[in-house]
Amino acid sequence: MKHLLLKLEPIIWLLFGAGLSIGTMLLTGFVIVVGLAIPMGLVDPSALAYPRAHALASSWLGRLVVLGLIALPLWKGAHHIRSLSVDFNGGDRDGAVGGLLYLAAGICSVLGIIAVAQL
């Protein structure tokens, strides 16, 4: 597993870097409005009523942004949790931990692609 992870490292780092930079930039506005302002009543929830939300998300740019909001934080998260595990003397279990985390990120990313395709 460790050997496979080393081979995949350029792809993993690409996704991690994109998650760290683009993921952070995209997620900030999303969390402020969808995660906090609408539930707290600071923004009218009708802004994200189904017809408008669906119209926004189902455009090609909307689908790309939604997929970015799903997949990029997952890969940033998976890689950072792996590195946290290594920091706490997890060098020996790194192959298994890293493999599981990337598998979870990969499965959720595929589910994200399916979710976006269904819009």
Partner: protein, 147 residues
């Protein structure tokens, strides 16, 4: 004047794997601010991973239909979701300030075709892009643009 040292002068008699001590976390890590900040930066990965799954849940509900979407959006009013999203916002700002403000200005390629920009310029460009994208996405989601 002494001549240049032979490149193999310090090489061991037999070639072998580089001898390095395995990395170990010092036992007093919680008392070292730099290690603590570094670990907190890594721990934001847990929040990011969960945030990705929350967006996946929302996207899935949006594709399912109006009832599922209304239910998923309504779930976000639960106090646990509010606390989680407040924590996510703190994590995003922490990651952004550390990565965009401290790390990225130092990560410019030094020997590429592009000129190396001053750290302040890089910070300004990245923070500007972050702020612009946040405001734009926020206004669109809040219905102020493309109502």
């Amino acid at each position: 004047m002494a001549g240049a040292a032979h490149p193999e002068a310090m090489a061991p008699p037999k070639k072998g794997p580089t001898r390095t001590a395995p990395p170990q976390m010092p036992e007093s890590w919680w008392g070292a601010p730099r290690i603590r900040t570094y670990l907190l930066f890594g721990a934001t990965g847990i929040v990011y991973f969960l945030a990705g799954t929350v967006v996946l849940k929302l996207a899935w509900a949006l594709g399912t239909g109006p009832e599922a979407w209304d239910r998923a959006l309504g779930d976000l009013s639960h106090p646990l979701y509010l606390v989680f999203h407040a924590l996510t916002l703190v994590s995003l700002i922490f990651v952004g300030v550390r990565a965009f403000g401290t790390m990225m200005p130092k990560m410019q390629p030094r020997n590429g075709p592009l000129p190396v920009l001053a750290a302040g310029t890089v910070k300004g460009l990245i923070f500007g892009a972050w702020a612009a994208l946040t405001v734009l996405l926020g206004l669109i989601l809040a219905g102020k643009i493309f109502p």
